[in-house]
């Protein structure tokens, strides 16, 4: 699979390792293939190595081991200015002593482009981000969102094949951030460029990306499309990190063969309070091994028909959120079990302190590695 993928891969990390001090590996054995025109996000908590990966791709850091390839060619020894990779920085890095127009013209100038051609391209790039009237302003005279657009236009004006973005929306307020997410996504769709995006904001990653690489501890924990990442997390870290998650610790007591409808085997797990439940065996060992069962709050239904995963739950707290009601329950001895009850017509009204029945499908519960 790796061979067939790498033929199509435009950007490729091949067994890349990185250490700053010779003692600790910041990036451990990174393998990642990105196809041409793809929007891939590196998502992870701070210190997980995602920005280091971006800096290695841009050429500002050298890989301690392994190859980074662009279009099939190793770029390890190519200096940053010859890589032809556009980059948007978290701080925007707009040159303060130049006007917006001069900022955009800079990459064209250093490529020895003629004045007329430069002006034409700068004008087009500014129009693209709806900033056509701002060419003669200084960056300091612009708002955060405007600076963001200029930084984006500057990274795109010399028509790079790959654009890297290092938390470009981190400094904006929520509303502007969401707006810019769509704009960046639309630019990506219309220009057909390859984007490698770094963020620690999961909703940003899920909204914009074709694929998301979840980083932790210097490794990619899971690389998948946003829907897969949310619905089919492959390990406890991803399940925890992406979205809200209920976890129940237990021990595998049995594994059955599974059937054609489900993806894999169904594990019977004995939980800490002695009860058992059934869950899809995604990443757990054989009988006797510890596991962590992960269930999304919206996949749990209240007082449905009894099934293999029916259990009693005591209502501890209710939070009204308009479209749904967030209920904190005690389930199998876990006080932090959250269920989202949709505010649909005829839904059951829970009361704090009452005991109710809840249930979930075995395939919605995933038996993962213990943390």
């Amino acid at each position: 699979m790796a061979m067939t993928d790498s033929d199509a891969a435009f950007v490729e990390f091949d067994r890349v390792q990185k250490s700053y001090d010779g003692e600790v590996l910041v990036v451990k054995d990174l393998n990642l293939q990105i196809a041409k025109g793809e929007f891939v996000t590196m998502l992870g908590p701070s210190g997980s190595g995602k920005t280091t990966c971006l800096m290695m791709l841009a050429g500002f850091e050298t890989a301690t081991h392994g190859d980074i390839k662009l279009g099939g060619v190793s770029i390890n020894d190519i200096p940053p200015h010859k890589r032809g990779i556009g980059m948007v920085f978290q701080s925007y890095a707009l040159f303060p002593h130049m006007t917006v127009g001069e900022n955009l013209s800079f990459p064209l100038e250093v490529r020895g482009m003629g004045k007329d051609e430069r002006e034409e391209k700068v004008r087009r790039a500014l129009d693209m981000v709806q900033m056509g009237d701002f060419a003669s302003r200084r960056p300091a005279q612009l708002s955060g969102g405007q600076q963001q657009r200029i930084a984006l236009a500057r990274a795109l004006v010399f028509e790079p094949q790959v654009v890297l973005m290092d938390e470009p929306l981190g400094a904006l307020d929520k509303q502007l951030r969401e707006h810019m997410q769509f704009e960046i996504k639309h630019l990506h769709d219309s220009l057909g460029i390859t984007v490698v995006y770094v963020t620690h904001d999961q909703s940003e990653a899920l909204t914009m990306s074709d694929r998301v690489a979840v980083f932790d501890d210097g490794r990619i924990q899971q690389l998948a499309a946003p829907a897969d990442l949310y619905e089919r997390p492959e390990n406890s870290f991803v399940a925890q990190f992406i979205g809200e998650n209920n976890k129940l610790a237990g021990t595998v007591v049995a594994l059955d063969g599974g059937n054609s409808k489900t993806e894999g085997k169904i594990a019977t797990v004995q939980l800490e309070d002695g009860d058992t439940c059934q869950a899809l065996a995604v990443k757990c060992g054989g009988p006797g091994s510890k596991t962590l069962v992960s269930i999304r709050p919206e996949r749990v239904s209240v007082s449905a028909d009894p099934g293999p995963n029916s259990t009693t739950a005591k209502v501890l707290e209710l939070i009204y959120l308009g479209d749904h009601i967030r209920c904190r329950l005690n389930v199998h001895g876990n006080d932090e079990f959250v269920v989202k009850v949709p505010n649909a017509a005829g839904h059951k009204h829970l009361v704090v302190g009452e005991t109710t029945q809840i249930t979930w499908d075995a395939v919605d519960a995933r038996a993962l590695d213990p943390l």
Partner: protein, 432 residues
């Protein structure tokens, strides 16, 4: 109040009880303003007494000298006018008039007064500033004035032929008025001929312009050298991790904590012809023992020692400008296709210009007026204008000359400062 707030176009805003808003504000702030003023008052007085008044005195002294008009009794403080008759004759006859018998009569009368008031030395010294050898002329004239018989012109010229020198008469004419520009002229190697026209002094006697030129050139050289040396250090300081940069900063500041004299003498030990550097080169066989390089008591010594001493004044402004420059600017430039040299030239360097300008201005102004180091290591070749000012203050006691030189120096620096403001803008000055 409602009126005042709803009508912002009304310039005379008032408070709730009808007082003008501006007056109320001034009243409310008066107390804190008074306290602030009292706090700075000691410094203000100190500066006025020790700085502004002496500078005013100096400026006055450069154009005002009463050595030929007033005798001041040092014990009583009483002031007696001298050379009155001659001054009257100068008033009645225009410049360039051949001195006639009446002029010599007046001169002899004044010489007698000089004898009585014992002011011959003082008056002679004043003329001596401009016409060397005149002091003895006056003391001798005053001594013998009583015995002279008319016609006085012939009698005086017989006593000493210098009395007939038209140049002497031109100098006495200019000295007979307290306000004079001759010191400024002399400071620019200019003088007046017998007709009162301004002309250059003989080539052999031109020292001040040459020294101003040397001071200027050496200061420029020192400024450029400190810039070249300080730029990489400041960059390192600004970019290294804190624990290393702190150590480096201590090294930069170490010279500040060492006595100026110790630093200068260390350079003397290192650079003199029997010094460490020469010994080392002889030992390594680079130069012969009998042609050791002369690096001390000339320009090289002055430049090396002053560059070292003034280096921190360049490093600190540069550092303060470089520290806040985000490294992502250069990275952005590199990712946009600029080579590291282009990124430096187009992106990093322009952002450090205010620091360069501040450091250069500071070092240059300090270098132009530097005294101790050139006095110790400069020899005859490496002295600067400040050493000549000190010479006139301490040795020749021609304070007016010293004041004129110092005023020219001050004026030059003010012009530079004005130029800097026009070119870079004083608001961009960052000194740390």
């Amino acid at each position: 109040m409602a009126d005042a707030t709803t009508n912002p176009t009304n310039t005379g805003l008032t408070t709730a009880d009808g007082k003008p808003l501006k007056a109320a504000l001034a009243h409310a702030q008066a107390r804190s303003r008074r306290r602030a003023f009292l706090l700075v008052l000691p410094l203000l007085l100190f500066i006025v007494i020790t700085f502004i008044v002496p500078i005013g005195q100096m400026l006055k002294r450069s154009v005002y000298n009463d050595g030929f008009t007033v005798q001041k009794n040092l014990t009583t403080g009483e002031k007696t006018p001298i050379m009155v008759n001659l001054a009257n004759w100068f008033d009645e006859n225009p410049a360039g008039t051949e001195p006639d018998e009446t002029a010599f009569v007046a001169l002899v009368e004044d010489l007698k007064t000089l004898k009585e008031t014992r002011a011959a030395g003082q008056a002679g010294t004043r003329i001596n500033y401009e016409l060397p050898g005149s002091r003895s002329l006056f003391t001798q004239g005053a001594r013998k004035a009583k015995k002279l018989q008319p016609p006085f012109k012939e009698a005086l010229i017989e006593l000493n032929p210098k009395w007939g020198d038209p140049k002497l008469w031109q100098v006495m004419r200019s000295a007979s008025s307290n306000l004079t520009g001759t010191f400024f002229l002399a400071a620019m190697d200019r003088t007046r001929n017998a007709d009162g026209d301004i002309m250059s002094v003989d080539e052999d006697h031109q020292i001040y312009l040459k020294l101003f030129g040397r001071t200027f050139m050496l200061s420029v050289l020192i400024t450029v050298l400190t810039l070249i040396l300080a730029y990489p250090i400041a960059h390192l300081l600004a970019t290294l991790p804190l624990r290393y940069s702190n150590l480096l900063m201590i090294f930069v500041l170490l010279p500040f904590w060492t006595s100026l004299l110790v630093r200068t003498t260390s350079w003397m030990i290192l650079l003199q012809s029997q010094g460490v550097l020469n010994d080392a080169m002889v030992a390594m066989g680079l130069i012969g023992n009998d042609n050791r390089i002369q690096m001390m008591y000339n320009k090289i010594g002055t430049v090396v020692a002053m560059t070292h001493i003034l280096l921190p004044f360049m490093v600190l402004p540069l550092y303060s400008v470089m520290r806040p420059i985000n490294p992502s600017y250069v990275r952005a430039a590199r990712s946009l296709g600029a080579t590291s040299w282009t990124a430096f030239r187009r992106i990093y360097f322009p952002q450090t210009v205010p620091g360069i300008a501040a450091g250069a201005l500071l070092v240059f102004i300090l270098a132009v007026g530097y005294y101790i180091t050139p006095a110790l290591v400069g020899g005859s070749d490496g002295t600067l204008i400040s050493n000549l000012i000190a010479f006139h203050m301490q040795k020749s006691l021609n304070w007016s000359m010293a004041a004129a030189l110092a005023s020219l120096l001050l004026g030059g620096i003010l012009i530079l400062y004005w130029l800097y403001d026009r070119l870079v803008g004083i608001d961009n000055l960052k000194l740390g």
